[in-house]
Amino acid sequence: MRLSQGGLPTLGRRQQQASDSGMSSDDYLNDYFVSRVRTEGDLSTSAFKPKLATADASSSPPKIIVRSPQLAPSTHKFSLLQSWEGVVSAVSEAEFVAILRDLSKSNQPEEQATFPMDAVAEPDHSLVALGAVFYWVIGYEVTVTGTRKTVSILRFRRLPAWTKSDLLTAKREAQRLSRLFDTQD
């Protein structure tokens, strides 16, 4: 069986492990989904329910054939509703203010909003500074079970640092512009 899409990224390795331990692919997949259901209570699509029910009801390991189309969906699917690009215009310890530009519809007016620092993922906190750029997206997150919820994600842009080459180019550009004033007193 070939698994061509996401959702079970480590399957190949696991399949190999299963094969090494003498399990068939089907045994392995069954084991995989049953363990997922035990750890993730909400993983119960209608397609799997009857089979999993059988799996739970039976004392001996059931034989379940899982076809690839049913394996294809990723665990999470994101459906974008709205996105903005923001530029931080003021920062305090607990919150920051930003000017927002609509990326979904370009002719919308710019907006201003205040965000609590909690809205930013912990690793991005150090990036929150005056002039920093971030993307704010709101959309539906759909799990493999079909559960849909509205989510908001704020991601700060990690820009590269200034390099020697950047600074040299900037200097040349500045010199070129300065010629404009050469002959003025």
């Binding site: 709205q82 215009s89 907006e111 205040t114 640092a161 180019t169 900037a170």
Partner: protein
Amino acid sequence: MTLKTKRRRHEPPETDQVEISLFGPGIGECVVAHLGAGEWMIVDSCRDRMSRVPVALQYLADLRVDVPKAVKLVVVSHWHDDHIQGAADVIRAAESTSVACSSAVRHEEFLAMVGASPRAMMQSSGVSEMRSILALIQERNLPGTRAGSAGPVLAKANVNLWPNGSARKLYDAEVQALSPSDGACMLSWRAIADGLPELGVPKRRAVVLSPNQVAVVVWVSAGRVRALLGADLEESASPTMGWRAILASPTRPTDRAAIFKVPHHGSINADSPQVWERMLTPEPHALLAPFASGGKFLPTRSDVTRLLSRTPNVHCTAPSGGFSPPFRSSAVEKMARQVTGGTRKAIRGPMGHVRIRGRISGGSLSVHYCGSAFRATL
């Protein structure tokens, strides 16, 4: 039957009329001035929210003004986003115009910041607009062109911006810069130098600390009409900077203006009671455009109260405090409200326009409001 609606056009001013028009959509401002005899000046620029066209070009087209020939002077008071958006487009369209910029732009620190802007990997900012302006002027300085004849004119205190040596045919009119002072330029260069890109430091959008102190304040004199256009110049504790430096200048105009573009959106840090006493007529017409930044909106209620204590004639281009944001889907609105605590506001609304016209020979001034503009009251 088809119902045809015709948009009401503005009527152009008469040859012997002076006009000062202030535009402001909630954030951003632009002054369009008729200096008489079909000659125009534009100070700063902002874009129409819907068409994205610089409002000055839109208005002059509406008046059927021949922009390439009739616009004689464009002043870029400073490079803050709310004063400069679309200025390069204005200069491109006004083919025969002189361009005046704050003399602070000449310094190598400023040019280094401008030079770095394309590599900052950021959305456009006032600094990158300034870069477009300087590049455009450079293109116009063709080989053999007399240096400085295409600009920019480096505006600083007591520099005459217009007419540039050419004689006026009908009556006297002139435009003079009252700022920035040399002291303000020196401090500005230091501040810019502190914010310049450094090796290994992550890139950010260029944010310049307080270019307001190097903003170009403009004095307009046309026939018997006087106007003081305050840009964003703030008051300073130092006698060599801000409004104090203008008041202390022995060469500043001694006349009094009846039209005052209130500096820095009416904020307290730009307020100078001495300016009202010594440079303005009693009860002048005060023109005001609002502003939003860093979670604050200008003018505040107390700013408006203070202005009304100085003159009953306060005219605003738009209400302060922002506008309702455009409605997205219910799911987006609900989530956005949850994240921002309902603080989201649109900072640009419909374009507001306050227009003041008066005869060169003097007499009363007439005020006209368009769009979201209104007369302020307590």
